[in-house]
Symmetry: C2
Subunit: 334 residues, 2 copies
Amino acid sequence: MPQHGSKLRVAQVGLGLIGIETIKLAASKPWIEVVGGIDVDPAKAGRPLADIVGAAVGGAVYESFDDMVAAGVKPDVVLHTAGSKVDEAFDQIEPLLEAGVHVISSCEELLFPKLRSPVRSGEIDRLCRKHNAALVGTGVNPGFVMDLLPVCLTGVSRSVTRIDVTRIVNASTRRMALQKKIGSGMDPDDFRALFKAGKAGHAGFQESAALIGHCLGWAFDSIVETCEPVVAKKNIQTQFFSVDRGLCCGLHQVINAKVGGEVRLHMDLQMVLDAHDPHDRVVVHGEPPIDCRLAGGVAGDAATVAALVNAIPRLIKVGPGLHLMADLPVPAFA
Amino acid sequence: MPQHGSKLRVAQVGLGLIGIETIKLAASKPWIEVVGGIDVDPAKAGRPLADIVGAAVGGAVYESFDDMVAAGVKPDVVLHTAGSKVDEAFDQIEPLLEAGVHVISSCEELLFPKLRSPVRSGEIDRLCRKHNAALVGTGVNPGFVMDLLPVCLTGVSRSVTRIDVTRIVNASTRRMALQKKIGSGMDPDDFRALFKAGKAGHAGFQESAALIGHCLGWAFDSIVETCEPVVAKKNIQTQFFSVDRGLCCGLHQVINAKVGGEVRLHMDLQMVLDAHDPHDRVVVHGEPPIDCRLAGGVAGDAATVAALVNAIPRLIKVGPGLHLMADLPVPAFA
């Protein structure tokens, strides 16, 4: 928990469900002063942030960062929960960095932006260093369970021959957006097509693999990602979806990443309605062998919100630049 | 894995079993050049380091750092595996820091030196900053399983009400020094007396608790540590000890640390010959709940050696000063 003479001024960009929970958590910290929110939805702009989030937080909602600045509000840190792709996020993030505002983002590709956007990645880093800002992408997955935790466990490894990571999520316990993302109620072929078009499935999976490879010094020949629908064997009813037998009730996404023709990293993600035995597991093959299991798994939404807020003091400590989670000090409650 | 233009020059201080394994691992890294060893044992001094460690490593063994410097050898980093107490370690470490040499130590109290040696701790930090050196204390326990890993898991915590950490080690699989440390073959009352005198038991346990408290922002009212012998229910034979029924075959060391009268941190360490179901477990009570279990536990000696060597690039990155493991980037294989 950071000790500051004065509180950090924090604003939220993106006021969807995750954004609202994130800024509410931030507001509960004695070292944070919430100064406002930004959302492209014109219906939200101009209203007190407290109205939107349903809790006693300070500041108003603005349609853009320019509007926020014009109103005389200047945050130290922005929590950014809008968009999964670097290119989408860039337009929102650029003015923040130019104003020297630190950014912590749940944008999945920002976990390892060099993978898909090497040019933009360099641009973000230059902006950060020029304007004394720091940026990091994080969350629970990507950002922790399937990447940073495996990396952390290898801190006591003499040798690592291979890493296997599994995450089985019972999606029935998750928010509507996630149940939708995994294809709940869709025709399995439609889901396959949608995944191919990049419009369904878990985002940031290859970024997790790339982060592990980067940390372990593994130059992957290839990162091969597949995603298959899981088909309901019986009718399933959730708070948000009715899924008939034979339709899609989840996804099974797999990555195999090879070095010198051999699989060194295997990642297996199942997000399925009414999934049996949800858990996270990391197996580090090597010396010593490590077999780490998180019973029940780490609950996604609460953990993502926490990961964003907890990263604030560590990001500030590490100084200007585009950072990876592996560049920051060990994750910790803040 | 760090990329360097030239290799890091690494020396070993302390050539016991752990020290030998540590410098052998260091020598296997393409980014390290081993330049020598230091040991107070005059029988070792003057000999090639390769003779002592039984592997092809460079450099000779010196009785002191002064002797090493006089021979024209100047390491960038020293791996220090001699002594559990800050005061013992200080005399060895002081000349290293004055020469601007970075130090990574398995000295248990150096994990959180402010706890027992606040004055010396300040002195070490000043020496580091004055001479551009960095120092950190680490290992598997203390240094990872019962402190840093719990801290890391709270990185995705919205709230933490309490942490429970358990480590059950099958000491039959460990080195003689550890089997001795846990009282193997002793009269249980003799072991109790020895623990009270600070001459038996697991060192650094309170330091682990203090590190967790520091990271979580918990100002403990007290850290209460107890240690009871485990009494053999049958005769036990290890590679090093014969333990008759009724004698000591291990220890059960417990810490309860309270905030505002309530236990927030409970740590339970059992190191026992022929222990059943060895494992490590961290339970973070809070939101989300986290229940992490390492099947079989993390093997101690291999992991300590790895923790020391893997910390090198991260310690250098973080700059001059006395650092805690929680100040360094996320642990990672290097």
